[in-house]
């Protein structure tokens, strides 16, 4: 197919969906019966077309077959079979990421991952790319806070050649000096370009304001200063320290058999040597004393980027299910309160949402929207109203809708090989049992009004908010000050991203 001419969507693809997706799997197994929106007796003789139809019981999910193995060198292998199409996803996930970046070398884990596909002992960067395109495969490496992942997506017909390339990239990266300098320049330029995008500036300012010196307060991609300072030796040392079989899991999803995967893994990764991998540090997280508003000036901006929130919870929290339900009600779905209010009632924005960044340690809770400049103060009033109201008891029907949405919504997350892989990678990273989905429906079902209120009061604190507003300061500041929401701090973009380079 050709690229279509651009289209516009009712809901921003990167809005609600992203925030929901970061909060973890949403899968259904043997769900309870679901009442239809309005129940109508269906007489055989006459059908009332003015009433929604009565629905049958919802389907049970068929989660993928899970098979786990371990090689003598400690490499864990997880195989999830899905034989619908001749496709396979292979993920090597290393349990180390940006949280281990040394001070002053922020962006290291990200740079190391990026360099894996830029040359090996056997192949140049161009040869790797040529082979990948020739085989019709996708081969990428990336890094997040606590994991680094090499990802292969391939037709099974190409699996032999694809795995040879994949293992070469994983085990024998050469980090050629010239390629490192080329990639570094691309990344430094991309960091300069962040100044153009208010939402990106808001994300950076929010993380910094909430987490301060904690690793989550730094940017994963680094700063212009830190990226410039990372040496080839730093990159090699990081790779040698953390990319070890006893710190890694090989996840294989698709049209494969576990025995065949194990045989291939032994051949390709059997000789990979164990190493002593340092634990990631557990840094203290700051506690805010009151609400702070950080206004970052973006002169002429047509909208104000809103980021409100604070420190949320770790992925392993025992409050996982109540948190998901509470967030679905607050800002995690299209009909959520934030979107219903700020978009569908007031028309201030194209979409408002909220989400928890669930990580190894407590990550951020963020409510966000892009608000038309003239309604910045009005929107702040509505945001604060919703962040207070969620602490009251939620009505039973609203709770029931959110639970059903989570229970029944998106068994499609386990539809494709790539979807399955994205569901299971975080389970592996955070040490959550792989049969997580088996009990998820019951655990969502068990969430009560009291649970939702308890987690709302614990994790959403309207009196200790960090509020970041990136917009046209001279227009928005008077209205914000008049609301007296808390301490107000004004910043320029250079305070957030550093001074722009002189041309």
């Amino acid at each position: 197919m050709s690229r279509s001419l651009p289209s516009v969507a009712r809901i921003a693809a990167a809005g609600l969906a992203t925030m929901v997706a970061c909060s973890g799997p949403r899968v259904v197994t043997t769900p309870p019966p679901v009442p239809a929106p309005a129940v109508t007796p269906s007489p055989a003789t006459r059908i009332d077309l003015t009433k929604p139809p009565t629905l049958g019981p919802p389907p049970s999910l068929r989660p993928p077959q899970i098979s786990t193995r371990e090689l003598p060198n400690g490499l864990r292998i997880v195989v999830l079979e899905q034989h619908e199409l001749p496709l396979v996803d292979v993920m090597l996930q290393v349990r180390s990421g940006g949280e281990t970046d040394p001070a002053g070398k922020v962006g290291m884990a990200d740079l190391v991952a990026a360099m894996l596909t830029e040359g090996t002992a056997n192949r140049t960067a161009l040869q790797i790319a040529d082979q990948a395109a020739f085989l019709g495969i996708q081969l990428n490496a990336s890094s997040s806070w606590e994991r680094s992942t090499i990802a292969l997506h391939a037709p099974t017909a190409q699996l032999d050649s694809a795995l040879a390339l994949f293992s070469d990239v994983a085990l024998r990266p050469a980090f050629p000096a010239a390629d490192l300098e080329r990639v570094r320049k691309v990344r430094l330029t991309a960091l300069q370009q962040l100044r153009d995008r208010a939402p990106a500036i808001a994300d950076r300012a929010f993380a910094s304001a909430v987490f301060g010196d904690h690793p989550y307060g730094r940017p994963l991609a680094g700063t212009e200063g830190s990226v410039a300072s990372i040496t080839r030796e730093d990159v090699q040392r990081f790779y040698t320290t953390y990319y070890r079989p006893n710190n890694a899991t090989l996840l294989v999803v698709g049209d494969v058999r576990p025995d065949d995967v194990e045989r291939r893994a032994r051949e390709l990764f059997g000789a990979w040597a164990r190493g002593t991998v340092p634990m990631a540090p557990n840094a203290a997280q700051p506690r805010p004393k009151g609400t702070r508003v950080v206004i970052v000036d973006k002169p002429g901006a047509e909208q104000t980027s809103f980021r409100l929130g604070g420190i949320g919870a770790p992925r392993t929290t025992s409050d996982y299910f109540p948190l998901q339900v509470m967030n679905t009600i607050l800002g995690g779905s299209y009909t959520s309160r934030l979107n219903a209010n700020l978009r569908e009632t007031k028309g201030y924005t194209y979409g408002a949402s909220s989400g928890f960044g669930l990580r190894r340690s407590a990550g951020p809770f963020i409510a966000s929207a892009e608000i038309v400049t003239a309604k910045t103060d009005s929107a702040l009033i509505e945001f604060l109203k919703e962040l207070r109201a969620i602490r009251d008891t939620v009505p039973a029907d609203e709770l029931a809708k959110a639970k059903r949405y989570l229970q029944l919504g998106l068994p499609s997350s386990l539809e494709t090989t790539q979807g399955i892989a994205q569901e299971f990678l975080p389970l592996i990273a955070y040490g959550i049992p792989l049969d997580f989905h088996a009990s998820a429906v019951q655990r969502y079902g068990a969430v009560t009004q009291a649970d939702v209120q308890r987690v709302a009061r614990q994790y959403v604190d309207p009196d200790r908010l960090t509020i970041v507003l990136v917009g046209d300061r001279k227009v928005i500041e008077p209205g914000i000050r008049a609301l007296n929401p808390g301490e107000i701090i004004t910043r320029d973009i250079r305070d957030v991203l550093g001074a722009p380079p002189t041309p």
Binding site: L5, A133, R404
Partner: protein, 456 residues
């Protein structure tokens, strides 16, 4: 009517692949059944029971290309109104009811069509069909000025968030206006102008609905885990009574045109780096050169070894990024190359380098390896398109509308298999040898960076 087939995709592929060389792997057929209701609604059914989800996807054959002068953006604004309730669905309940059964939904508007989908657990299909039928048949009795005014504000914010407050976000609007004549349906983008969004009236809403939102101007695709006979019963029950529009809507006329000479434009924006956009008028979707131009785009900027990426980004390191693509709709198309120079480099220098690389292909052609990289990557993308029922529903609707039959995925891919090196060389020389629209987006106050006719 085409008989139903129960050969699973898996079995089919196993058959195709047995004993065959790796690259002989082909794109599997998408099985379907097509019905037409007496009121003209086209219905396409595709069963896939591998996951207990189902998709209903309705395409109305109207897009921004059908809009009247002074009402740009209206097709999309109207799309928003389709979610605000209908005769039997109170305002706000469309989404509430769907979420309560675990469903997601959205709508999109392009130059050619407006599409609405619901993705549901398989038991909830009748709810989606009932909701879609109610808004197809009974939207206007509950339409109000307040609904229009609200979504007008939302859409204006969409325009700000996705175009106006985004670096380089207004570039294509400027390019389309210069490339396509004022009477051409692609002269403006689907988002429309702020002034025209302001001007849209309740009377426009009513007229638009009566003209375009009729069963004989729509295609409904149901894909996924459903029972065929039940689905046909529901479709007939809910949609069967909606009257057809006896008057076929007037389709936009597409003027034949060519650009007599290069057009040079400059646009100031709040950006750190300038960016160069070069755009040629090309061909519409499924024209015999459409796929050839796709391959040319791959050869120019598809991956690290592509001509422009390798020279400008990898070797010389004078560009931050390069992009090339053939963008084609039902009525027309264009070919675009975009280059962002690195700090200290000029758009004019980028223009010269791009010209050199196009010239090399036009003069010396392309290699077998370049063709193979493009073809094999595209083959894999076709396979990926068949992994989700949402994508399959979209493909079936698109082929039914644009190719005249839903049974087109294999022919779509075969177009790429037929592309030769000589074809690629020919389109580089012909289409990219013609006058073009050159837009330089520059940081505010840096108009001197504009590429103009004075250079190459």
């Amino acid at each position: 009517m085409i008989a139903r087939h129960f050969v699973s995709l898996c079995a089919l592929i196993a058959l195709l692949m047995s004993g065959s060389a790796a690259h002989a792997q082909s794109v599997p057929k998408l099985q379907f059944e097509k019905l037409t209701l007496p009121n003209g609604l086209q219905v396409i059914l595709h069963e896939d029971h591998s996951t207990p989800i189902v998709v209903a996807n309705t395409w109305y054959h109207v897009g921004s290309g059908d809009e009247k002068p002074g009402r740009t953006g209206f097709a999309h604004l109207f799309e928003h109104l389709m979610f605000l309730g209908s005769q039997n669905v109170p305002q706000g309940q469309f989404d509430q009811w769907l979420e309560a059964v675990g469903a997601d939904n959205n709508g999109t508007t392009s130059v050619d069509r407006t599409a609405y989908y619901e993705q549901l657990p398989s038991n909830a299909l009748p709810l989606a069909l009932w909701l879609d039928a109610d808004r197809m048949g009974n939207l206007l009795p509950v339409m109000t000025q307040a609904k229009l005014d609200l979504q007008r504000d939302v859409v204006k914010n969409e325009r700000r968030q996705r175009y106006d407050n985004v670096p380089y976000g207004r570039a294509n609007e400027t390019i389309w206006a210069a490339l396509f004549p004022a009477t051409h349906p692609y002269h403006w983008p689907p988002i429309g102008s702020m002034a025209d969004l302001t001007a849209a009236s309740l009377e426009d809403v009513k007229e638009f609905f009566r003209t375009y939102y009729a069963p004989n101007n729509a295609t409904l695709v149901i894909a996924g885990d459903f029972d065929r006979d039940s689905a046909v019963t529901w479709v007939t029950r809910y949609f069967g009574g909606i009257p057809r529009n006896p008057q076929a809507p007037v389709r936009p006329t597409v003027p034949a045109f060519s650009i007599p000479r290069d057009t040079f434009l400059v646009q100031e924006d709040k950006v750190t780096l300038p960016r160069l956009y070069q755009t040629w008028h090309s061909v519409k979707l499924f024209h015999r050169d459409d796929a050839v131009l796709d391959v040319l785009a791959d050869v120019l900027a598809g991956d690290k070894n592509s001509r422009l990426y390798k020279r400008l980004v990898f070797d010389m390191q004078v560009a931050q990024d390069v992009n090339a693509y053939q963008s084609s709709g039902r009525m027309d198309g264009y070919f675009q190359i975009i280059v962002t120079p690195k700090p200290g480099q000029t758009p004019t220098r980028m223009s010269e380098l791009v010209g050199e690389e196009i010239g090399k292909i036009a003069r010396d052609g392309v290699t077998a390896r370049e063709l193979a990289r493009s073809l094999n990557s595209r083959r894999a993308s076709f396979l990926d398109q068949l992994a989700s029922v949402l994508n399959k529903a979209d493909r079936l609707a698109a082929y039914a509308y644009n190719a005249g039959t839903p049974d087109y995925v294999q022919e779509d891919f075969a177009r790429y298999e037929r592309v030769t090196a000589a074809d690629v060389q020919r389109v580089a020389a012909s289409y990219l040898g013609r006058p073009k629209v050159v837009l330089t987006v520059v940081p505010e106050g840096k108009r001197q960076l504009m590429v103009s006719g004075g250079g190459k």
